[in-house]
């Protein structure tokens, strides 16, 4: 997600630049005024002029070549084939590995493949291909295929990825997600192991506009998982690491809800008890203990259900936005009641509770 980080950085530019950029959405101020054109410039700007120039150039070039005694349109088997021509040959779909030729003579060693833990046997389990050390980057492909990067659209959508399996009786190709391959380089060719053995996976990257391609050969081994002894899962106690609060500012712990209305603007914070840092999905480990959503449960309750009804408590929303939108209550009648938020560490059953006050006012009070 380098691009995402770079994109975020643009958000840090000075505010006057942002303000100025909003002009784009207000008027056409940014558009340069069209220049007045005379008849000649109208002609030179037209498609006819460009076509005429191109035709003239082509005629001269062809004439020059023929004059020099070389017929470029003839298919002579003894014509020398240049490296460039080799690279842009469009191959028909290969049937097996022996027909695959990479366009890169200095083909790298086959990359190592690991497979995700194979819990089922046989079949039923997807083997996710993880290629190391890294996926082929678009820049690398551009270079290898002699593609000149032009402007905005020299991106992954100009490439296709085709995958072939040499021995389909050993492994079955389930799906290929080319965008995911270019994004993360892993987990994006799904295979199903059918029986023990080794085979080869061929990933073919095709540059669509020219048909130039490069193939990578990846060995695959399907193994029957060893019989395991019963494993005891070690429970990492992270219950003392995280706490949940209805903010630390006392004034924010009092929320006003109107009668008959739902309210979901509870300001919630999820903090590390040690360093007091706010938890965030991108900062999700503490002292090497990885935070896992599924280890926690958050419940919102109220002891006085006649005043307010808790409609929902969405822990993923609370944890993802780090602040709000996860708890929805409905004001039933005028009054005041506590709202209790309980964070439970499921593996150990430990809990932490936070409390806010909800004041329900008559709707007419507005």
């Amino acid at each position: 997600m380098k691009g995402m980080t770079a994109f975020s950085r643009i958000g840090d530019v000075r505010e006057y630049l942002i303000e100025e950029s909003l002009e784009l959405f207000e008027s056409k101020a940014a558009a340069p005024a069209p220049k007045p054109q005379n008849a000649f410039s109208r002609f030179t700007n037209s498609g006819w002029f460009v076509a005429a120039v191109c035709t003239l150039v082509a005629v001269f070039v062809m004439g020059g070549i023929i004059w020099a005694g070389f017929n470029p349109l003839g298919d002579r088997p003894d014509d020398p084939v240049t490296e460039t021509q080799k690279e842009t040959v469009i191959e028909t779909e290969p049937e097996n590995e022996s027909e695959i030729q990479t366009t890169d003579e200095s083909e790298p060693e086959p990359e190592e493949v690991t497979t995700e833990e194979n819990k089922g046997w046989p079949g039923g389990t997807f083997l996710l291909v993880r290629r190391s050390p890294d996926v082929i980057a678009l820049g690398e492909l551009n270079t290898e295929l002699g593609v000149e990067e032009v402007g905005f659209d020299a991106g992954k959508m100009r490439y296709d990825v085709e995958v072939f399996v040499k021995d389909p009786e050993i492994v079955e190709l389930v799906s290929v997600d080319k965008y995911a391959i270019f994004d993360s380089g892993m987990g994006d060719v799904a295979l199903r192991g059918l029986k023990e053995g080794s085979t080869t996976l061929i990933l073919k990257y095709i540059y669509k506009p020219t048909g130039a391609w490069k193939a990578t050969i990846v060995p695959i081994t399907v193994e029957k998982p060893a019989e395991r002894e019963d494993e005891t899962t070690e429970v990492v106690d992270t219950s003392d690491v995280w706490e949940v609060f209805f903010t630390e500012t006392q004034s924010k712990r009092v929320y006003t809800v109107k009668e008959g209305e739902t309210f979901d603007r509870f300001y919630v914070e999820f903090r590390c008890v040690d360093c007091r840092n706010l938890w965030h999905p991108t900062n999700c480990s503490y002292d090497g203990v990885e935070f896992r959503y599924e280890d926690y449960r958050i419940d919102a309750t109220t002891p006085n259900e006649g005043v307010v009804e808790v409609l929902s408590c969405d822990k993923y929303a609370i944890m993802n936005t780090c602040d709000l939108g996860g708890i929805t209550v409905k004001g039933l009648r005028e009054g005041t009641t506590p709202l209790l938020l309980t964070l439970t560490h499921i593996p150990t059953g430990k809990t932490v509770t936070a409390e806010a006050t909800v004041v329900v006012k008559a709707a007419s009070d507005s």
Partner: protein, 180 residues
């Protein structure tokens, strides 16, 4: 209502501040979020969160450029949401936009604040049209087609100008010791 009057409403803790903000700047903010998320419900949620964030920050903050202040908040919230949704949904147009930036903006964590300064200074030295196109594409996440419509230029011209601006940005940053 003028922005300063709206900000005064925030300072007075008057809930009309939100309504007035929505009336005046809701469309711009919504548009920005939609460009990033491509989903109306998600963008709406970000818009609401933006108002809440503005409510929480003003006071004590008194933004000089109120609209830019809101745009920055909704952009950050939308990006956060996008990261969360990334596995499920892909926004192809934005992905292209991200890819383009990979090659010209470095990611050194230790010089983050300095980089923002360099970006601002660089944009300040560019022609206005280039600057607006760059911000339109990489701040507002607009497609090239939309930029062409907004600016009155042809799509190819917009693409080429963006490409050249990125190249200049890369050179500018490399001169200042960044490795792109």
């Amino acid at each position: 209502m003028h922005d300063s009057q709206i900000i005064n409403l925030y300072f007075a803790r008057d809930e009309r501040a939100i309504t007035e903000t929505d009336k005046k700047h809701g469309a711009v903010c919504m548009n920005l979020s939609l460009n990033i998320l491509q989903s109306h419900p998600d963008a709406e949620e970000c818009l609401n969160d933006t108002y809440l964030s503005a409510w929480n920050h003003i006071p004590p903050e008194r933004p000089t450029y109120f609209r830019a202040f809101l745009c920055r908040i909704i952009r950050n919230l939308s990006l956060q949401r996008l990261q969360y949704l990334h596995r499920q949904k892909r926004n192809r147009d934005l992905e292209v936009s991200l890819e383009e930036l990979e090659g010209c903006i470095p990611i050194p964590e230790e010089r983050e604040g300095e980089l923002a300064e360099h970006l601002s200074n660089f944009l300040g030295t560019q022609e206005k049209t280039d600057r607006l196109l760059f911000m339109g594409r990489y701040f507002h996440a607009c497609s090239v087609k939309t930029l062409a419509q907004k600016s009155g230029l042809r799509e190819n011209t917009v693409s080429m100008r963006l490409h050249r601006t990125r190249e200049r940005l890369r050179a500018y940053l490399e001169e200042r010791g960044y490795t792109v």
